[in-house]
Symmetry: C2
Subunit: 129 residues, 2 copies
C-alpha cells in the first residue's frame, strides 16, 4: 500500500477527534484541511484503515457506521436519546471465552460490546422538565 497524503489526513483526523465520527463527519473535518478531497476517498480509506487494524468501525442501530481511533480493548456506550457514543474500559471480556468455547464451536477473534442507555446530560435534561 502506497503512502497517501489523504489517508494520513483521514487517519489523523479520526485519531484527534475522539467523537466517533461517521464518514460524513470525517469528510467535513478533513475538508477543512484539504477542500478537494472526495467523499469516496474518505470511505475507501476509512475501510482500508479498519482492515489494517488501525481504526475500528462501530455499527450502531438506526444510524450510519462510526469510526474509532482507539484500538485497545474497550467498549462503547451509546446514548439512545442524543446518539452520542462514549468509550468505556471494562475488564477484559476474555473471561467469556471459556463460556463461549463450552457452548459453541466458534473461534473468537473479537468482541464488540455496545451498551445502550441514556447519558448524563440527557438525564439532566429530563430532570429539568
Amino acid at each position: 500500500m502506497n503512502y497517501s497524503r489523504q489517508r494520513e489526513l483521514i487517519y489523523q483526523t479520526v485519531m484527534q477527534n475522539a467523537i466517533h465520527p461517521n464518514a460524513d463527519t470525517v469528510y467535513a473535518l478533513v475538508r477543512a484541511q484539504d477542500p478537494n478531497i472526495s467523499l469516496g476517498t474518505v470511505y475507501r480509506n476509512l475501510n482500508l484503515l479498519c482492515e489494517q487494524g488501525q481504526l475500528r468501525k462501530i455499527s450502531v442501530p438506526n444510524t450510519s457506521d462510526c469510526f474509532d481511533g482507539r484500538c485497545d480493548e474497550h467498549h462503547h456506550l451509546i446514548c439512545t436519546r442524543c446518539g452520542k457514543v462514549f468509550d468505556i474500559s471494562l475488564g477484559d471480556l476474555f473471561v467469556l471465552d471459556e463460556q463461549i468455547k463450552n457452548s459453541s464451536e466458534f473461534t473468537v477473534t473479537g468482541y464488540q460490546l455496545l451498551i445502550e442507555g441514556i447519558c448524563k446530560s440527557c438525564i439532566e435534561i429530563t430532570d429539568k422538565i
Copy 2:
C-alpha cells in the same frame, strides 16, 4: 395499534426462522404466504415490532440489519467468513453494571454483545484446503 394480518405474518415468520433474517429475507419468506405484501410493509412492521419489544434488531458491520425473534437475554456470534449469525446464552452481563456505574454516569438500558469470529463449518473448510 390495530391488528394486521401482514404484521402477524411477519412476526410469525421471524419467530419460526431462527436464522436472523434481514428485511429482504423476511420479505422473501412472507411472500410465499402473501405474494402481494410490499417491502415497505415488511420494514415498517419489523421496526414497529422492535419498538414494541417483540423483536430485536441486530446491527452488524458491513451488512444490512437483521432481526431476531428471541428476546430473552442472549447474545450473538457473527462469522466473519460466511456472515451467519448465531445465538449464544452467556451469564448475565449485568455483572458489568457496577463497573459501568463507576467509570461513567450512564443509565444502562441494554447490552448488545456481538462476538466476531469464525464458525465451525468455515473452520472446517479452511482445514480441507
